[in-house]
């Protein structure tokens, strides 16, 4: 259906040929935009209708007081279905601390939440196949689990700003929720508006970069510079490149699609995706309000090393 739409629009109406660079790029752009936004709206609407999207408040209630391994496992899985805007990172961090949730578990949540979500998972399956989707989700959960546990070892409590410990959180008095079908529909629509309104720029940017890569970067160049599975430097280069770059997890997928299509190694692509989605400068600056630089530097280094390990392992696995 999307293929047909893109073919008609780009090749029939605009008269471009599939072999030309502009034709290939534009075809990629139209097809991915249609497909991604279609799926994005459907998924968020359905999740909203089921009220399956969790709020950070509920995650906090659920995780508090659990033994650490269980707290961590639930924090990362719940993190995957909790849409939260990075501007809420500070209250979230404070709320978790106040509930007595270990800092390492909070870090696990902060790693998992931007990297894995239900929208990204469905898009990965439909654009790149279930195998790559499963690998991405599994590797992401693993990194979040181990990364948070490792942070804990360094006793990050000493780097938390002192005012954080003094904040007392009140008991929330919620007003009644409208659970009728009309109320749910209305809630779901607003959820779509909020989330799409927040991420559409990243998604278009990602599709644009993917389209340019798809249309204009010659395959021979990719194979020579990025493709070789024995090119060890490609993975750290991908991770370093991803740190200053930021995009939403959904926006990274079309870029990955274009890279894989041109023959970039799987591990290198996964490392770049994770680094772009989970490691970002703006997020660090926001977290700086609650923890000091040493903790942030440690956080970034642990994640960078973890993403490199993920990249190298998948490149080795792929070779067999």
């Amino acid at each position: 259906m999307f293929e047909l739409l893109a073919n008609t629009l780009v090749f029939t109406w605009m008269g471009l040929t599939p072999d030309s660079q502009a034709g290939a790029a534009l075809h990629f752009f139209v097809m991915d935009s249609a497909k991604i936004f279609f799926l994005l709206i459907i998924i968020i609407y359905v999740m909203g209708l089921l009220r399956a999207l969790l709020s950070p408040e509920k995650v906090r209630d659920y995780v508090r007081g659990k033994p650490v391994w269980l707290a961590r496992s639930s924090a990362i899985t719940l993190g995957a279905v909790t849409p939260f805007c990075s501007c809420s990172s500070v209250p979230l961090f404070i709320g978790f601390v106040e509930a007595g949730i270990p800092l390492g578990v909070t870090f696990s949540f902060l790693i998992a939440s931007p990297m894995i979500n239900e929208v990204a998972a469905v898009l990965l399956v439909s654009l790149l196949g279930w195998k790559i989707a499963a690998l991405y989700v599994f590797a992401g959960l693993l990194v979040a689990y181990v990364g948070g546990a490792l942070m804990e070892r360094f006793k990050p409590e000493r780097w938390v700003e002192s005012y954080v410990w003094k904040i007392q959180m009140g008991e929330a008095q919620w007003s009644e929720e409208d659970t009728s079908l009309a109320g749910r529909h209305h809630f779901a629509l607003n959820e779509v508006k909020n989330i799409v309104g927040r991420i559409w720029k990243w998604v278009f940017l990602g599709i644009g970069v993917g389209a340019l890569f798809h249309g204009y970067v010659p395959e021979a160049w990719v194979v020579e510079h990025l493709g070789g599975k024995d090119n060890w430097l490609a993975v750290p280069a991908a991770v370093l490149l991803g740190i200053p770059l930021y995009s939403n997890a959904t926006g990274v997928i079309p870029v990955a699609e274009a890279m894989l299509g041109k023959g970039v190694a799987l591990g290198t692509t996964l490392a770049l995706m994770m680094s772009i989605a989970a490691l970002s400068l703006p997020e660090m600056l926001i977290l700086r309000k609650v923890i000091r630089w040493p903790a942030l530097a440690l956080y970034a280094s642990i994640l960078a090393v973890a993403f490199m390990l993920v990249g190298w392992s998948f490149n080795i696995l792929e070779a067999f």
């Binding site: 950070p56 209250p91 404070i94 009140g170 919620w174 007003s175 009309a182 109320g183 909020n194 989330i195």
Partner: protein
């Protein structure tokens, strides 16, 4: 008179929410006192972590993301169903 507070540490969504409540209430002649709560400790004392949050008469009506106009109206007209255009 409703007592309305917008909780948020000054991000753009909080501004938008504040403005929207102001608009909706003046359009519909709903009497409110509208305050901004920007201090983190005070925001947290209401028990929410996702901003912007909206507190109406001491109860949390909304948390996380910008509400739409119908939702805002529904806080003040208790019997109103937000899905129905004719009832408000």
């Amino acid at each position: 008179m409703f007592d309305v507070k917008v909780l948020g540490s000054g991000c753009r969504n909080c501004e938008t929410t504040h403005k929207m409540i102001e608009e909706v209430c003046s359009e519909n002649a709903i009497p409110i006192t509208l305050d901004k709560v920007e201090d983190m400790a005070q925001i947290m004392s209401y028990g929410i972590m996702s901003t912007p949050g909206v507190v109406v008469d001491g109860k949390i009506a909304h948390a996380g993301g910008v509400p739409d106009k119908k939702t805002v109206l529904s806080w003040f007209q208790a019997k109103c169903c937000p899905g129905n255009d004719n009832c408000c």
